[in-house]
């Protein structure tokens, strides 16, 4: 059985193949091929990398110059019924004056012929806007406007949900709630695509990430696996031990260790064979009679990964 390239998932709902998008001379996307399936996927990349373009191509809001987009059975640009399966929450834009959340959600419900009359209120409650559902949105904060748009996108019960910086402007409590909501939606089997710059939140939100840099796919998959795939740089692991230099001496003797920095009780170990180091560490510590207080890989976070990819 051949391994599937991590850019693709085995049971995709969204497939992007060979897609390029040009805006005049500017290449917004260059031959992107990837797919998305149920669960939450994080879409990352510097400003201008093409994330918004990709999202709009998937929702059919713009046409691609080359290649194909396939969503839940069809081309979102040509097949109308596909649109009903997609919910989009774009980045913060102005709302027409006087519009209330209830108006917006009902409008979307009508647009997609949603028959359940309870649906608008239910989704407004889920995002926590039920008690201000009839207030004009131009008085809302950014975070509240975003939540209204999330409710509007969800009312048609879409299988594919695309969110562009949905946490923008939300305060910590709202952020936690929304993250929980998106995870639930992913667990329900929906395909949720979230783009965000706040990487430590994406870590909590998505198991799978897709990274775009300059219109191209730079990396895809589970973040630890991506890190493993970047074999050319040594990993760094922080070890806090007591007594530190005894362990340092023992580690230097091990062939998996490439370099070592000592700062008080903290050892920063550089290695190109992180797996071997992990195996060796407990035994080495015990033999040397050293207590381990902390072991922490330093470049595993999405932040560290991102830094490497974008360099």
């Amino acid at each position: 059985m051949t391994q599937l390239d991590p850019a693709f998932v085995p049971d995709p709902t969204v497939v992007v193949s060979g897609v390029s998008v040009f805006f005049g001379p500017k290449v917004a996307l260059a031959e992107m091929s990837c797919s998305f399936g149920p669960g939450v996927t994080g879409l990352l990349g510097p400003n201008g990398a093409g994330k918004t373009t990709l999202m709009r191509a998937i929702t059919g809001l713009l046409s691609v110059s080359t290649g194909q987009v396939w969503v839940a059975g069809g081309d979102p640009r040509r097949v109308r019924s596909v649109q009903g399966h997609i919910g989009l929450v774009p980045e913060d834009e102005a709302v027409p004056g006087g519009l209330t959340p209830r108006d917006l959600v009902r409008y979307r419900a009508a647009l997609h012929s949603v028959t359940d009359r309870e649906a608008p209120d239910r989704w407004l409650a889920v995002v926590g806007l039920l008690d201000v559902a009839d207030r004009a949105m131009d008085g809302f904060s950014k975070g509240m406007r975003q939540r209204a748009k999330v409710a509007a996108a969800l009312v048609s019960n879409p299988t594919v949900l695309i969110l562009d910086e949905p946490l923008n402007g939300a305060d910590p409590v709202q952020r936690a709630n929304l993250i929980r909501l998106f995870r639930q939606l992913g667990d329900q089997g929906r395909t949720v695509l979230v783009s965000s710059h706040v990487l430590y939140e994406v870590e909590r939100l998505a198991e799978r990430v897709v990274v775009l840099v300059r219109g191209r796919l730079a990396a895809a998959g589970d973040r630890r696996a991506i890190r493993d795939a970047m074999a050319d740089r040594p990993r760094r692991v922080l070890v806090r031990a007591d007594p530190p230099r005894v362990l340092a001496a023992a580690l230097v003797g091990h062939e998996a260790v490439g370099g070592l920095e000592v700062d008080g009780d903290r050892l920063t170990v550089a290695t190109r064979r992180a797996g071997d180091l992990a195996l060796a560490l407990p035994g080495l510590a015990r033999t040397a009679g050293v207590r381990l207080w902390e072991v922490r890989p330093l470049d595993e976070s999405l932040e560290a990964l991102f830094r490497e990819l974008v360099r």
Binding site: N47, V173, E201, G275, R307
Partner: protein, 284 residues
């Protein structure tokens, strides 16, 4: 509020903007007094403002002037003589990392560049206290990193910072002290470290054999709370209850790992994140 880097968090509408306006003398308190750097604000707001720098959250730069011109003019408005203002403008623009772009009109700048200009103008008059409102908003991860590094450096220049943000991670990384507002009241005030209190557990993450690890530790009498995958042969993380006396438990964990030959990926004390402290109502 102590000197140094202080984070200000709170729900939307909890009073952060009002606090800033009070400090700037743009709002009067119904009760009580406000003092900034030893300067009473209510009786002499103009004098107090001389010690402050302010970086608003919203777009606030004149778009048709060059960055250098904008910062220099704002420096003059702070009372600096024209030549000194130009000099200072140049220095702070160097500090925030804006090179030749500073001679181009602000209208053509990206979000990251604009945020930097906003930060620069807040520093041009060498304030004692800089009020920064969401300085990382709209920045991509690289930009956010750079901005946080800049903000962290301010303390080493002798500038105190009040950083209002929704991103608790920014606060945890940069601020020594946290103020939390809720509906106009101060509900938490304390050093960041104290808020990240220990939970009395340690997280152990292995690349394989988490099931065997759990069993072995339980056999040794330790309480284990399962993390993710709990199948034999799988990678996963578990939390081990450690209690007040951590040493023997840590040694046991180490020995079990060595005996079973399991690869140790991570071992760390399970500290509450600021999020948990925040939603927990912030017990200190």
């Amino acid at each position: 509020m102590p000197r140094g880097l202080v984070g200000l968090v709170g729900a939307n509408g909890a009073g952060k903007t009002t606090l800033f306006r009070l400090l700037l003398g743009l709002a009067r308190p119904t009760e009580g007094t406000v003092e900034v750097c030893g300067h009473p604000v209510v009786s002499d707001p103009i004098g107090a403002r001389g010690r402050l720098g302010y970086m608003p959250e919203h777009d606030c730069l004149p778009l048709d002037q060059s960055a250098a011109d904008v910062v220099a003019t704002l420096g003059e408005l702070s009372g600096l003589p024209a030549r000194a203002a130009r000099q200072r403008a140049s220095e702070v623009l160097d500090l925030v990392g804006l090179d030749e772009a500073r001679f181009r009109p602000v209208g053509g700048f990206s979000t990251g560049m604009r945020q930097r200009v906003k930060l620069a103008q807040s520093l041009v008059a060498d304030p004692e206290l800089a009020l920064l409102d969401e300085p990382t908003a709209g920045l991509d991860p690289t930009g956010r990193e750079e901005m946080l590094v800049l903000v962290a450096r301010l303390a080493s220049f002798g500038i105190s910072v009040l950083l209002a943000t929704h991103l608790l991670d920014d606060v945890a990384r940069v601020c020594d002290h946290v103020l939390m507002l809720d509906a106009g009241r101060l509900v938490v005030a304390g050093p960041t470290e104290t808020l990240l209190h220990q939970t009395g557990k340690f997280t152990v993450e292995v690349n394989a054999g988490v099931g065997r690890l759990t069993r072995a530790l339980t056999e040794r009498g330790l309480t284990v709370v399962a993390g993710e995958a709990a199948m034999d042969g799988e990678a996963g993380a578990i939390d081990v209850v450690v209690g007040p006396d951590a040493e023997p438990v840590l040694d046991t964990i180490r020995d079990v790992l060595a005996d079973l030959g399991l690869p140790l990926h991570r071992l760390s004390s399970r500290a509450a994140s600021l999020d948990e402290a925040f939603s927990g109502g912030g017990e200190l």
